[in-house]
Structure formats: C-alpha cells, structure tokens
Amino acid sequence: MNMVSLIPPWAQHYEEFWDSIKARNSWFIKLRYSAVLMLVVFLTSTRLLFRISFTPTQFYAISSITLSIFLYNIILTRLQKYLKNSEEGFNPVHFSIVQMILDLYALCLLVYYTGGIESPLFLLFIFHMVIGSMILPRFVIYSSACLVIIVFSAIVFAEHFGLIVHHGIAGFLKFPFYNNLSFICVSLAVFAFVIIITVMLANEMANRLYKMEENLLDSLDKLNAAEIEKENYITGVVHEIKTPISAVQSYLDLILGKYLGPLSSEIETRLKRTRARSDEAIQMINNILKISRLKLLDDLGKEELDVKRLIGSAHEKLKMQIEAKEINFTLIDNRKNKRKILGDKFLLEIGFSNIISNTIKYVDKYGKVVITMNDIADGIELMFCDNGVGIPAGDIDSIFQEFFRGSNIRHKGYEGVGLGLTVVKQIFTKHGGTIRVESPSSLQDETHPGTCFIITLPII
C-alpha cells in the first residue's frame, strides 16, 4: 500500500525526530491522566460549588467517558513500548494520530452530554488542536480541524432541529439557547475561525522549531565531517613528507652499512648524526599520524587486556635501549585485584612504550626506573618513576601540550620533538583514564630530581 509519508521531508535526523515525537506522546499521556482526575473532580464537586445538577443520563455518560479515557490511556501507556522508529510499521506518529482520534471522540461525547453549544467544555477543542499541531503533520491536523468543526456543528444543529436529545445542564443557564439559530450560527462561525487560525499559528511555530533543531544538528554534522576531512588531509600531507625522508634514510643506511665502500670516521660520525636527525623527523611524522588517527577514531577497540602484559611487551620492545644504558628496571605489582581492562591493544601499547621510552631517555646511565601497579577504587593506578633529569616546576602543567619540551632538556642534546606525551595523554583519556606527572619523584637524589608519571585506568 502506498501511504502518504507522515514524516516531514526535513526530518533527516530520524532518531532525534522520533525522540521528540515520543517525548511529546508520553507527555500527553501524563496530561490525559490529569484530565481524568479533573473530570472526576468536575463530576463530584461542581454540584456543590456551582449549584448545578446532572441528570442520571448525564452522570452515567460523563462517568463512563471518564472511565473510558482512563482505560484507553492505560492501554496507550502500555503500547508505547512497542513503537518502532521507522516509517514502516506502527511508529510514534501513528501513535499520535490514534491518541488524537480517541481524544476527539471522547471530547465530542463529553461536549454533547454537557449541553453542546451551551457547554464551556467545547473550548477544549482549541486546546486539543494546539497540542495536535505540535506533533502531527500539516495535512493530518488540518483535516482533523475541519472534522472537529463539522462534527461539532452537526451536533449543535442536530440538537437545534430536535434530531438528537439536548442534554443541557440544569441550573447552569436560565434560558437555554441551543434553540436560538442566529446565536448558534455566530458561535459556530467564531469557533471555526478560532480553530483554523490556532492550528495555522501553532503548526507554523512547531514546524519552525523542528526545522531550527534540524539545522542545528545539520551544522553539527557538517562540523564533524570537516574535522574528519581535515585529519585525513593532515594524514595525506604528512605521509607525502615521509616518503622522501624514507628514501633519504634508505640511502643513509646503505652508505652507513658500507655497501658503497669504506667511510672515513669523520664522514661516518656526521652521517650517523644525519641519520639520527632524520630519524627524529620520522618519529615526529609518526606521532602526527598517530594523533590524527586518534582524532579520527571514535570507536576504540574494546578488547579485554592484561595491563601487566601490555607493559611487558612495551618493555620487551625497548629492551635494547634499556640494556644499552644499563638501567635498573623494576616492576612492582601491589594489586590484589588482577582484573583486566577494556581497550585498544594497539593504542595502549603505543601509550606504554611512549611512557617507558620517555623515561629511558631522561635517565642517566645506570639509572633507575620503577613501575608500580596499585589497586584504586574502580581501577588501576600505574606509577612510572625514574631518577632522571626531572621536570622543572614551571613546566609541569605544559608537558602534555603538543610540541612542548621541558626547559631543562632543550639544549642538552636530548632528541625529541615534544609530541610523545601528547599522544600518551590522548590515548589514556580516550580509555577513560587519567595521567598526571610529579617531579621530583620518590627516587630522587641530590643531583637527580626524577619524574613520576601516574596513570589511572578503569578496570572491567
């Protein structure tokens, strides 16, 4: 069956569209319960307060209408769970239309049993139309507005011409005026006018609000897309830069490997420096690529991982450097709770090896590195402490910034570009963890203040 689409064409963010319709639906359900309560009050107290009285027919009719509203509202409450956010099947818009029809029906009956044109309750139709305008598509709400006008007029005229019984409320009016034709004609004309104008205004405003929300979400999408494009561009450019440097390094390795013949030690020393400096460039490029990847990656891998093993494998990769400096490397595991963490193995390995290599870089020969693992509430705390050069107090707040290098290491021949710790911080934050730094560390002596990196990660 080819049905007219109930979803406005500008609703591209279907989830948000459905959510707002759903929210309004459940709001109407709550409103209906209060309407039931008000009807009960109306039935029981108006007699005393306003000295009016209902005929037994009126009393039973209003009571059963109230009960029906209460019952179908319970059913609607239950039905809410089974709605599907799709154009096919029973969706929240269909649900709104069902509510609308039921309410109109109940209200028509209520108005009829409280006096038709004499009943002040017919003003509720206007209220009803405002609510409908907020959630229903334009053609549905305009059709129901016309239907309301026709049905209400039909009731009023049928009462006037004696086709149906008039149920005026006794004690309410001195002279019934349902039989005054010019009065009912003018009243109905004004009623129709008010209904149509109300629907127009309310529908226009609701649509404008929806569209504004849509535009906002749209702009957000565009911003995200631009960010991704930017990162892709960076990756591309950086990769282009890496290609020639890789070629240079391949030649340098060839020459340093003496494939082209012997080298004088003078030249060899300089070429080794050249190799080290170009390696610095490659490291920097790799770090930029890593950061870009982190920014592009919203969905991290979620593997169950053993932290100790991750640190172990990072240590293994850096073994040569650790042995070359003859560093005293210790791992202390104080944990009682050896639960795993959830995360991206590749990224966490980068994180740990960056931290360890950072530590190795800034300790002297025969230096000391101690990694301590502790239990904390809901997580694990890892302390990477060394007795290296430390970080000056004024630099502590900046060390995780891109391209920042400590003021005490810039001129002392420590190589680096100041991106490693930025990557590290991003990795651990993406995993719901934290990283902070303390200097001097617990391993300090007179000449070596040392540094501690303290990382926390949530456990499963």
């Binding site: 070629a247 391949s250 030649y251 690529l289 990847r293 590749f346």
Partner: protein, 126 residues
C-alpha cells in the same frame, strides 16, 4: 643466487634496494609502475617480488599482488609499506592480501636482507 623483481615508483628506493640486494649477489630487475611490474614478472619469472603498497594510487601494490595470485603466479611477495604500523593498519599476512612479508619504509638494509633470505629459503624448501 636468486632473481628478484622490485616494483616501486620511487627511483631512489629502487636504487637503494637494488644496491643492497646486488651486493648480496642477487640479480635484480626493476619496474616503476604496476603495468611494467606485471610484465617483468611474467617475462622473467623471478624467485621473489618486492612490491610497494602505494604507487600512483594507494593500494596499487595490493591490486598488483592480487593480480599475480589470480593469474597463478605464486612467487613470494614482500611488500613495502610506509604507514601500516604507524597508524595501526596492521595488515598482517593474511588471505585478504596475498603477500608473504612486510617491510616498513625507511628500509633498513639488514632487515631487507634478512626477510629476503628467509623467504627465498622457504620458497626453495617448498
């Protein structure tokens, strides 16, 4: 010694890799684009192919590797990559990409020789 085909669009990488491999006594043939690369392999039937993953287009190397396998050329393939490990595209040696080894650029002579020898050895055993 073995005959090795190197296919890469970077002339310096071709030169450097050729120098390393000829120094070990291998015969090296080169091509700087996928089409010529396919041709030299068909014409000379080398014992080993070294292939750059990105030539004119990213993935050129992968497509060429797949073309070799599709046409029943089972010669072992070493692939040069430059971003794989860095950005975590850990291709790995699997059935999707029909290559036997990876070497990440910049190419270290020692690593290249070691991987070439390993594959040639394996190939002869087979």
């Amino acid at each position: 010694m073995a005959k090795i085909a190197i296919i890469d669009d970077d002339p310096d990488i071709l030169d450097a890799s050729s120098l390393v491999l000829t120094s070990k006594g291998h015969e090296v043939i080169t091509a700087n684009n996928p089409d010529d690369g396919y041709k030299i392999v068909v014409d000379n039937s080398p014992d080993l192919i070294i292939l750059d993953v990105m030539m004119n287009e990213p993935d050129d190397g992968f497509f060429l590797a797949q073309k070799f396998r599709k046409n029943n050329i089972t010669t072992p393939i070493i692939m040069y990559t430059s971003i794989s490990k860095t950005i975590g595209m850990d291709y790995g040696v699997n059935e999707m990409v029909p290559v036997d080894e990876y070497v990440e650029k910049p190419i270290s002579p020692a690593q290249l020789i070691q991987k070439v020898e390993k594959l040639l050895h394996k190939h002869i055993e087979r």
